[in-house]
Symmetry: D2
Subunit: 144 residues, 4 copies
């Protein structure tokens, strides 16, 4: 996998502002590496919910995560606010690769960036299916 280095605010197409939590900080006083993936998940799903009517409780087709990665450049600590930027890097038949950037509120350089890959599957059988039209349309709106 050739990762793109999307290091600037201008590299992303949609942003979600998120609050950090006391619980996010670990022993070293910074937001724990694990927690960043929780921001990834939340941003991507919120985009799908708002832009393609994904119903995480009932939709026939749901997105399963098959890969994720994150590069950590500089720490963030609760109670700082976070801006999570997303962009679609690649659209396949059943899958989509998102680029994600984590910014301290207001900053232009990423604190962390990574990728997140969804495969769309049928909820009943968990088999990959072509990306539904409505989702595909919304993904193209933020394609790189």
């Amino acid at each position: 996998m050739t990762e793109k280095k999307l290091l600037n605010r201008s590299d992303y197409k949609k942003f979600y502002s998120m609050t950090s939590r006391w619980r996010d900080n670990d022993v070293y006083g910074h937001i724990n590496n694990v927690t960043y993936y929780s921001y990834f998940d939340s941003a991507v799903n919120q985009y799908l919910i708002e832009n393609s009517n994904l119903d995480i409780q009932k939709s026939d087709v749901v997105g399963y995560v098959v890969h994720s990665n994150c590069n950590y450049l500089s720490p963030i600590s609760y109670p700082e606010l976070i801006d999570t930027g997303i962009i679609v890097i690649k659209i396949g038949n059943s899958s989509v690769t998102y680029g994600i950037g984590i910014f301290k509120s207001g900053e232009t350089k990423v604190s962390a960036y990574g990728e997140f890959v969804h495969v769309f599957v049928n909820r009943s059988e968990k088999k990959p299916v072509p990306i539904p039209e409505k989702i595909l349309k919304s993904l193209k709106q933020i394609l790189i």
Copy 2:
């Protein structure tokens, strides 16, 4: 412990708006009971950080949680926004009891409410100490 039933937005003195996370929802599709305590923690510590210069990394005196409880009245689900209300119910020599209310963004009735008790201890020896003046002053500002 006689719990106060603080069921309305007007029962609280300070509010923090928080974003929910995909990860907060459990199998039943609602924010998991555990997660509410993470909102409690985050609201109380943010209040102390902003109003009494609590430095969670370096302050000589830190707040240890000795009791918490929560009553769950109605579910909330990601991606809904949350308003966490706080008020100080009781101030002791070393301890403080906060009342906490969790509201769906904009609603006037709590979705959940509970209590959270801090004992202030010396960071080095973990022994209870009188509440420092600056913290005491900030707690009185939101005393019931």
Copy 3:
């Protein structure tokens, strides 16, 4: 609510050994207060799954948490092992109150203890229902 003080290993009827996680420790170097409720949840549900065939994905009746509380007596830190003890304190028509004790592996005095209240509801309508016979039987097996 009159809380029972169940402070000893011998006060509990069923135990689950659990591994702590790096992520459980907070800035103060101890398992964060929030995380204890995750142990509560896991012990109670595992008991129901193993002893009354609760299927958390498909059962008609599921347990919703309506109250929880915890008293924190002494800290535990990752990578210590945890024993979570449970006992049923009270059985109502639709609800059950569990007592939970958190022990450092092998210790006889609780590090933390609390309560956890389930109301059983119909999954489809979320309305309280009488506790199903199979669950009731399993709860009586660990009744105080």
Copy 4:
């Protein structure tokens, strides 16, 4: 980054058995993608604590995570037990790359696998430092 595909139990050198939690399952009924990184973190740090006297509270040198990735092949669900396998893939001057495999208890094929990169830094200044001798020795013991 050329990722190694370490897909079998025999590809790993050290294993940690871990309990899953009710809270780990997400809306889709499986352990959430985020949680896997919590297993990564816990296994690696436990190895360092047990084999090189890393004191996560006081050591002069601590490991900061600069990269992580995970490939998800098949789901696991609470209350299943997890075996986390680790191996050291590469040792640099200040950094180490671990390979991590997540197995359902007793299975020989990974459910998920990935990498986790630590840079060792001085706790006071957060500057990279050569890997301390004791840690280096322990890393070489599980070098690929």
